[in-house]
Amino acid sequence: MEFIVLLKQVPDLAEELEIDADGTDLARDWLSYVTSEWDEYALEEALQLRDQAGGSVTCLALDTGSVDELLATCLARGADRVVKVGSFERQPASHVAAAAFAAALRDMPHHLVLTGVQAIDDLDGQVGPLVATLLDLPHVSVVTHIAVGPDGRTATVHQEYAGGVVAELEVDLPATLGVQTSRETPRYAPVSRVRQLMKTMEVGSVEVSADGGAGLVIEAMSVPEVSATAEMIAGSPDAIAERIAAILAERGIGKAAVR
């Protein structure tokens, strides 16, 4: 079985996001990037499935000039191959990314293509179903469980709905899946190993022509006024607790009100 994982980097939300001078994009000069959380789950699932069913895991990322660490981390975690796709100044819109991945996959054997169900910057939609449509593959989003059938021709997956309800679906392979979570926490890759691999790893590359766009015009981006509605309580933890207790007592909420 050939497992493919599509990964990308997104801005690290641990840092404060700001808007650029034009007001239509993030101020990117000082941003730091991390691998999209859901793509990490997709990789973990691919590694687990390969270990069960045999085969190999190939990780693909668009070449934005800064994906070596991401790809080295994939190898350190156990991926068999890593490939840079195309050449981009920065992470493009999902439609452009999907077209590039689809072009690369046309010449690459693939039975199961896994990617994160979503990313925090998917303004024009999710890459998984876009790639699937371009390659005419079936696609399931919000997948929380994957089992490849004994003949390797189908996979049984769980699609998660609200309230913890899941649908069990059977999918003909090849297929693409948008992974919501992995069966185990994504495995750890020692930083020293990643650093070493960044110097020694072999990285495949695929040239693709990336035309087209998302068809969206971004008029403005803004940081929402988060505390516009909330009354903020300042002070020490004890002062905050005192105020919360007073608010609750006023409304007759909690045991305190009964006493």
Binding site: L123, V165, A230, I240
Partner: protein, 320 residues
Amino acid sequence: MSDDILVLVEHRAGTVLDPTFELLGRARALAAETGGQAIAVVLGSGVDPLVATLGAADRVIAVDDPAFAEFSPSSYQAALVPIVRDRSPRLVLVANTGPGMDVASGLSAATGLALAAYATGVALEGGAPVVTCQLYAGKIDARVRFADGRGIATVVAGSFPVESGMAAGSPPVERLGPPATDGRIRFKALLAPEAGDVDITRETVLVSVGRGVGEQENLELVEELATALGGAVSVSRPLADAGWLPRSRQVGKSGLKVKPRLYLALGISGAPEHLEGMRGADLIIAVNTDPRAPIFSVAHYGAVADLLDVAQALTRRLAG
């Protein structure tokens, strides 16, 4: 080309789901502005009971076929693509759910219509849709237009009132002939979640914790506070994923929707998926170390502080 607003009806176990009603209500208001119709598109088997609840639509397009008895992403897409191509609506509204994500991006790729994801607002300017999208886990809002004036939006649940789309009445139904289907994805079963020890949808007080709690041992302090308040502990997704508390305690899009009298959010940043499950609580108090955490946008009261310090102080205060 038309000025119609299409809404994809999502239904499960014979019931139209709330996000669909939200979209129908919004579509009705938008169609009144465009001069087009709000059209509900329902794919199912024996759709009459579903159609009877779609009174907010001006018209229903129904595909009624055993192949659509249950949801299949591949069959849905096969049937929807020609409908959207033929009607060329001004706007297609799809809920940002699992099935919604399955079909919306595929529709976009297949029809060439642009897609605006994570929408929380949809308006018209000069007859063309303007969509507000929530990016970066709710930390950034983007206002976008479709380059050619028409497109698809996937809308976050809770963005519009459910009631506005729940009008009575039977709109005219246009039934389509044998649909295109694609059997590469086959529905097998719907699996209900295991019942939990506590039903968080019935609790009047929820002390809800997220990643900010840090270590699993710290949950004990949160349990103590919940007990002092006469409530229960609920969690955001990462803690349920880690198995610290059962899935039945999870609040949010993939968990449960709760409406307690008090929702005390401790160390929860407030990603859109979480807000979907709790924004209807009577009183929301949030404690987070990040002053820009989106949870503060739905909270009535907020404090920028360490949740463990506040939890312990409040437990002491309630005991004393």
